[in-house]
């Protein structure tokens, strides 16, 4: 959701499929290197991690590596909090991201059962309002927002 919203606020379209398929091109600058770093950090292969770390350091500098590592650290934490406490998706977020979740294929995750299914009327409304929400984001694009090259 936030990746797509981030694209909307900068007038770009990023492919959210890269989230569930690491080999998919996201369109995010240096996205492939960042995805490889995330995968290697969570994986077991030390040699792969060393190479992906170096790739990010060369592409985005040492500060970029630190901030990428900090995001990996954050979500290693937040994901576990969400899954261990059984929280549902926040009401409007659940509805607005309905199409997105189908698109990237995460509805089969075990933790999906923590979010009750929406009724037919709510699902129909979400089909209309979901894309509209992203269009609104495009309109409120922040002027002068910094982007990586």
């Amino acid at each position: 959701m936030l990746l797509r919203a981030s694209g909307e606020t900068t007038g770009k379209t990023f492919s959210v499929k890269a989230v569930t398929d690491g080999s998919h091109e996201s369109g995010v600058p240096h996205g492939a290197a960042l995805v490889r770093l995330a995968e290697a950090t969570l994986g077991d292969a030390a040699a792969v991690l060393g190479a992906s770390r170096e790739e990010v350091r060369k592409a985005l500098g040492p500060d970029g590596l630190v901030d990428a590592a900090a995001v990996i650290a954050t979500f290693s934490k937040m994901d576990r909090i969400a899954d261990a406490t059984g929280i549902p998706l926040d009401g409007p977020m659940g509805l607005l991201t309905q199409g997105l979740r189908e698109e990237i294929g995460i509805n089969h995750f075990a933790s999906a059962s923590n979010t009750p299914e929406s009724g037919a009327l709510a699902r129909a409304a979400a089909r209309v309002l979901g894309p509209l929400a992203f269009r609104v984001l495009r309109r409120v694009r922040a002027p002068g927002r910094r982007e990586s090259p």
């Binding site: 606020t9 650290a73 937040m78 261990a84």
Partner: protein, 254 residues
């Protein structure tokens, strides 16, 4: 590794292959200190034991077998534990560290039936994820994990917030409207998403979560505002791509 004693030494990144910005180092120091100090339901000694058991989970053969199985329930056995913590608490630590995407409400209810209080459970989760988060940071930048802190003596506060109520998650949480009295500062003026309120049965753990998140990612109030730039060396889209990929690898629906 020897324990870090906060009277004489502090967590540091001097040997790291990259310079870590100072606000992040300070946030990690505060997180390490929180692990060492008495919490709301666990003593400092118990909290450090939870942190040690979190690392130990990575070498547990039961966890490894369960991770490979189609269902974690298909593999019976005992965790390889360091000892000192009740078996159900060890199960919580190992499962949350090694296989968080397949936790279930049924499993949680079994843990509760085995005698783990809901607030003790929340505090355990918080220590596990704090340790896990900083360990992953060290791994990603290519430096050794920090020695665990030496426990600080003292008694837990044993404060159960009156505003915590069931609202659909496995554990009670404090709604914004119920954050009053000692919890009046908990969310400030901002709307916290469910994940920001998930640990609110132990309010100090929310305060710790926010402190760490602000330095590692961004302040809570900026998260839902996709146009906000938290001023990192990578842009917002790069941050969200990493976040999404990590969450998918963890099989986290939220």
């Amino acid at each position: 590794m020897t324990a870090l004693d906060y009277e004489t030494k502090q967590l540091a990144y001097q040997g790291a292959p990259v310079v870590v910005r100072e606000d992040l180092v300070e946030a990690h120091r505060r997180a390490w200190r929180r692990i060492a100090e008495p919490g709301t339901w666990w003593t400092g000694e118990q909290r450090v034991a939870i942190a040690a058991e979190t690392r130990n989970a990575l070498s547990c053969s039961l966890c490894r077998e369960r991770k490979q199985a189609l269902s974690p329930n298909a593999v019976e056995g005992e965790h390889q534990s360091l000892g000192g913590l009740p078996a159900p608490v060890v199960d919580v630590i190992h499962r949350v560290r090694t296989d968080p995407g397949r936790l279930s409400k049924r499993w949680f209810e079994q843990i509760r039936a085995a005698g783990v209080g809901d607030a003790e459970y929340v505090e355990t989760i918080s220590v596990v994820v704090t340790l896990t988060s900083i360990d992953f940071f060290c791994r990603a930048i290519g430096t050794a994990a920090h020695p665990l802190p030496a426990p600080v003596a003292g008694e837990p506060a044993r404060h159960r917030p009156q505003g915590a109520r069931p609202e659909g998650a496995w554990v009670p949480m404090i709604a914004h409207a119920n954050a009053t009295g000692p919890e009046a500062d908990l969310y400030g003026v901002h709307r916290y998403p469910n994940v920001g309120r998930a640990l609110s049965l132990v309010p100090d753990e929310v305060r710790g979560l926010v402190d760490l998140m602000t330095a590692q990612y961004m302040p809570v109030h900026q998260v839902a505002r996709a146009s906000d730039d938290p001023g990192r060396a990578i842009d917002r889209a790069q941050m969200e791509l990493i976040a999404g990929r990590v969450s998918a690898l963890n099989e986290c629906f939220y």
